[in-house]
Symmetry: C2
Subunit: 327 residues, 2 copies
């Protein structure tokens, strides 16, 4: 029983490809008589030809397609009057469900379960120290210990879990120290990145964001933070720097999401701060934006710590993933 966000992730590629073709035939996007060729399909699906072959064989068995006197397969049954339609399949704009597309992109089970585990592991840490047992997690995810160990190794490398003296996996506790260290680091690198990014920011997008703040009252600080990261900071032409910023924010934003889920209302005036910041970025010398970002981060840090303290004393923290046992 895999709890991945994407249940399609475990299915073999040929299944996914067969599914896509099936749906496109049903929807009439692939018309009767269309000539299906392995190579072009493989290109469209961004995969190799082997799974396409398998998918086609399967569809043939289902009688959705048929062989004919020539290379490839024809959509539908061949009758005397069928005229093969030979066109580039890319022109047809196949309907590829995003879930399937996502599942086709990444290879590796561990990638599909990783995000979920990361989220749960990160967000439990406000409530103290938790232990993770490999076999339990494996059972929970419905995968083998190999995959679990892969996930755990990466969580360890990314600083979300560690090993106890007894070599057991331990998550947390998230101390005020950890959080303020991470915010301090943000205060150092994010303004610097913003400065480097300045020449590469697409300012039209920033204006759109400002527009959205004005018009959309439901916009959340998390969305703003993500948008700021993607449109401004991540535009810095320094991969090492941007990657580092991302990984440093990982734990913080997971915990933030956990706090929201627990019902802590986000600050109203944070939105205003983002508004000011975006305004500075798009209409003023970048230095002022950098300085403001630094201040904003130190304010955010204080609020973040305050919110953590409130939640930490909630007795009914309750809903941890079953593989997380409090120590």
């Amino acid at each position: 029983m895999i709890r991945s966000a994407n249940p399609l992730a475990q299915e073999p590629r040929y299944e996914l490809i067969a599914r896509v073709l099936r749906e496109n035939i049903a929807a009439g996007i692939l018309p009767e008589g269309f000539v299906l060729l392995e190579g072009p399909i493989a290109t469209v699906m961004q995969t190799s030809r082997v799974p396409v072959q398998a998918a086609l064989r399967q569809l043939l068995e289902e009688r959705l397609i048929s062989r004919f006197d020539g290379r490839g397969y024809l959509v539908g049954r061949v009758t005397a009057g069928t005229v093969p339609i030979r066109r580039d399949i890319r022109e047809l704009d196949l309907l590829i469900p995003p879930m399937v597309d996502d599942a086709l992109q990444t290879r590796g089970t561990w990638r599909h379960v990783y995000d979920e585990v990361e989220e749960e592991v990160a967000s439990c840490q406000i409530f103290g120290e938790f232990r993770i047992v490999e076999t339990e997690l494996a059972e929970h995810l419905g995968v083998s210990r190999t995959v679990v160990r892969d996930v755990l190794a990466r969580l360890q490398e990314r600083g979300l879990i560690r090993k106890s003296a007894a070599s057991h996996w331990i998550a947390g506790p998230l101390t005020a120290r950890t959080v303020s260290d991470k915010f301090e680091l943000r205060g150092i690198v994010e303004p610097a990145a913003l400065r480097l990014a300045a020449p590469h920011i697409r300012y039209a997008e920033v204006e759109d964001l400002l527009e959205r703040i004005e018009t959309d009252p439901a916009i959340t600080p998390q969305e703003m933070a993500d948008a700021l990261m993607e449109h401004c900071i991540a535009q810095a032409p320094n991969t090492a720097l941007v990657e580092m910023i991302r990984s440093n924010r990982l734990l913080l934003s997971a915990v933030d999401r956990a706090l929201i889920r627990l019902g802590l209302p986000p600050d109203e005036d944070t939105i205003e701060q983002y508004q000011t910041l975006l305004d500075l970025i798009s209409r003023h010398p970048i230095d002022s934006a950098c300085e403001y970002l630094r201040d904003h981060l130190s304010i955010t840090a204080r609020r973040y710590l305050a919110r953590m303290k409130i939640v930490a004393v909630i007795p009914e923290a309750g809903a941890f993933a079953p593989y997380l046992s409090p120590q």
Copy 2:
């Protein structure tokens, strides 16, 4: 055939413990008639009692120790006249070879092979793109694919290798862009860390370093860089920051060592720069040191790139590890 720097690393703990006890009995540090108790030995060796038990059983089989009417084991053979010596083993100052001590500290084969692989993988990257095949590396190291995959996963997390579209492991190439990105990042975070570290630096050690520069003509820039990192920058009371700096330097210093091995002479005047820097740190306002560090890093970056270019064209780069195949 494991190529680890420390061949003792593969042996089980009880072997190591038995070895230590054996040597200490032979050396007479553990006198005839001394009462060996599991618990205290476990404490001294920083382990649990189980491997100590195993070690004692082994020594008993070798007749180096014997049981007697009471708890524990006696060193040597029991005769009528033997009087049990009951003393705290910690007072005896057991002889524990550093190699054994090191091997006792870390658990896990992958840790023992990791450093070697990291060094080789990092340093080959000046010469372009290399491929690593899991089974070949496994054979080379004399370990299973499990361990190799663990090592590779961590190398990937640390940004030293990646996967190709075909899901093969690829190291490198180390581009000028990568290097200057990393140096740019250093220029942002290292001065900041130095500033945070200032109140925590043990200035006596800095003075010692300055002294060594004066007196020891054989001192290398690498040693200076490491010393600066450990004594000054790493003293910053922000774990996240220091860890980040460490991981960012990893590739750069591995490549640097590779360049030295290839016979590129290190700069003479770099030493002078470190001298100035340490002088600023210990005797002047920290801001001046931070500024100087920033300048120093940008100079170092330029030189580093120049040295890379020289080496990259050496035809006989030659001596890569056998599991690294150029693409």
